[in-house]
Amino acid sequence: MKKLTALFLTLCMLFTMLTVVTASAAGVEDLPEDWKTNVIKATPEMYPDTDMSKPYTVKIYQVGDKPVDWDKIQNAINEQLAPFNTSIDTVFMSWADVSTMYSLNLAGGADIDLIFTAPWEYMFTEAAKGSFFEMDADFIAKYMPLANKYQPKESWDETRINGKNIAVPCGRMAPEGRLVAIRTDLAEKYGIGELKNWDDFESYLLTIAEKETPESGILAFGGQENNTAFWELWYTNENWFDAYFTNNLRFSFAYDGKLPAAEDIKLAWETDLFRAFCKEMKKLADAGVWSRSALNETVNQWQSFGAGKSASIEWNATVFTYMKEVEKNEGVTTAAYDLFKEKGTLVTAEAYSNGDIAIAAGCANPERAAMVLDLLKFDTALNHTVVLGIEGDHYTIDENRVYTRTDNTPNYLPDGNSLSWATRNGDVEEAGVPEREKVVRDEWKRRMIANPLTAFIFDPSPVQANADAVDSIIGDYYGMLGLGLVDDPDATLDEMLAKCYAAGLQDIYDEFYRQYNEWVAAR
């Protein structure tokens, strides 16, 4: 009897062990390949190397202001993280303070585990200071198994420096096209039809400046600061991409389907295209398309259009927001045009690295922080909580992952905070997008292409003094040239470039080409 009991107990133990092994074996590798249509449910067993024996609160620093319902969202996230013996606590650095507080919090030893970052939000400057925890492939495989499986492979290149990743990018690539929107009530008044290219748009601007502005005071375009909007149109029209862009230092190249040779990458302001652009802007400025005091204008072009002060606007799909605003006025109608549709120019894809989460170098438990990031990105329920809010309260969703807003959506806008920008995967789509907007976005997707140089990261530190000097010089001239507020664009441009070379532009070129050639060779 004793022997039978012992045998029975042994079999029970073996069965239990096998069950545990089987459950452990139901790990990441057993998850479906297509995470966009399947529900991914993470379990603690998928993180065998992460010590979850003690509770831990992961401190997340976000940029921007706290959404009204954030506390509810955080509580919902913490409920879902309970099986992992983990919770999150979030600090928001408001837009007004982020320029001071971002670096200060990292350098000053604030208690940070995860922090939002992006190339436009100090990612590379802080990485150079060693503010971020560097993740090698082994770390990612062990502590972020879902990201290791589902994160688009090409996205890792965008945050990799010296073989290690400084941040985890978002999982979505979206088209970043350019549109112009105009007042069609005014266009009809002067017999102007659909706009198909830059010449049509120029004709509209000149007509409004000549005939409408003297009568009603409505400007053809609310130009201000440096007229980057119009440069973006010109530049897009020629399939130009950026190789490096920080403040006023912009290295660009014309994309022809392959990686450019180093010498084909130039400072954007030194190109014939920019010279022609300056002359065109002078023509528009002299015709009164924008105010002569545009350089000091504090109201931006979008506010100007939305308030009915100007008759056109240029940017990405945000133009639709301002079109709705100005259409609230009686008699006002608008339309948006893709000036490059007929020509078929390429549409740049927003880089994956446009929104990232980094683990702070001072993080006390990077393994746990990595696990939380992994869960927020790829556990379907957690990801939808971060990106969309609480189902039934902030949104409803169908089986095709098409979501609809509710009355409470304004208290937690979809994709409305920096954590959602860094964790979105593009697996959800919004219902009820206006047809005019949908048509544009679908057309962009057709022509979308990723910038082949997104993964090239130029480090200006060997020539930092030169870069700062050249950046400052360009800043002094760019506004005037972009707005055409100079007597002689050629002479002014030559003067600016002469000063740039005197400040060491050639040294910057040499360093840039050196790093670029090394990067190309390493590929």
């Binding site: 837009w95 007004a96 030893g109 927001t321 301002y322 997008v433």
Partner: protein, 305 residues
């Protein structure tokens, strides 16, 4: 008063034509100058009640036109939050001002005493900090890591509690009080602290009022320390709360642009003006009562011949 004690009758100045002309001209010029000084406040007040689109289209109005209270409605959307910020700011200002005046006068008194052996050394150390400091990052690390300032109310009080400038004013003023007063009190058996509290402070009323005004202004207007050390919105002071509201409004606009939502009716320009009125209102109303002390305070620390 003559040497014999009789009052001297006031001599009446005869107003000749040229004196009248000069007086009229003076009054006109000073009146114009006063209007120029008042103009910004007037413009802010008018702009705070002007609709947003009107301001974008037509700029800041000189004469009141269309009337709108939407900026104030947005600023005061959460009245409890703004009342809490007001209360916190008033409390911090009161406590901070009392401590700041106490510290400045006590330090100033000690340094004004010629029998204090190390006064030159101490004065040098105080003065040196006005010329050089460790920088923002070391200071932030000290406050956050070692002094535990994060989300603590004393983070709003301590940094502004001691001002070297106020101490120098106090030192100069108290040096002008005759030393014989302190000496005679010492002979009577008073200790240094008793002399300071019962003799020096009562004789320094103009000084106290001046230092109180300077300190109160500094505490009332402070937003920087709140930005550095406070992330809990229950501890936001008034200036930072209003600034964060403006930041939120800007963010709402940004998010609306990104998400394609209907642009919220956020009167950004009007909000800035309304916030200015809300934040400076009490100080502007209080100022006339403390004006004479401020004028006196401009010269109170001056070296007398």
């Amino acid at each position: 008063m003559t040497a014999s004690g009789r009052a001297v009758p006031k001599k009446k100045i005869r107003m000749t034509g040229d004196r009248i002309a000069v007086s009229i001209f003076g009054y006109i010029m000073i009146g114009l100058f006063a209007l120029i000084c008042l103009a910004p406040f007037y413009l802010i007040l008018i702009a705070s009640f002007t609709p947003e689109n009107d301001m974008i289209r037509n700029g800041y109005p000189v004469l009141p036109g269309a009337f709108s209270t939407e900026a104030y409605a947005l600023c005061l959307k959460n009245p409890m939050a703004i009342l809490r910020a007001y209360g916190l700011t008033a409390g911090v200002t009161l406590v901070g001002t009392l401590l700041a005046v106490f510290l400045a006068t006590m330090t100033g008194y000690v340094l004004s005493r010629r029998d204090f052996p190390w006064r030159n050394g101490f004065a040098f150390f105080f003065f040196f900090t006005t010329l050089f400091n460790g920088g923002l990052v070391p200071w932030f690390m000290l406050c956050v890591r070692y002094l535990g300032f994060k989300n603590q109310i004393y983070a709003l009080v301590l940094p502004l509690m001691f001002s070297v400038w106020n101490m120098i004013i106090a030192k100069s003023f108290m040096a002008g009080i005759p030393a014989a007063i302190a000496e005679s009190a010492k002979i009577e058996g008073a200790n240094d602290f008793t002399i300071y509290v019962r003799l020096m402070l009562p004789l320094s009323k103009p000084l106290l009022a001046t230092l109180a005004l300077f300190s109160a202004l500094a505490y009332w207007n402070d937003w920087y320390n709140c930005m550095l050390f406070i992330t809990d919105d229950h501890l936001f002071n008034l200036q930072y709360y209003l600034q964060s509201m403006l930041g939120s409004a800007e963010a709402m606009r940004l998010v609306a642009e990104k998400s394609g939502m209907d642009l919220p009716a956020v009167p950004l320009e009007g909000m800035k003006m309304a916030m200015t009125v809300i934040a400076t209102g009490p100080i502007v109303l209080l100022y006339p009562f403390l004006q004479r002390y401020f004028v006196k305070g401009l010269t109170i620390g001056a070296v007398k011949g």
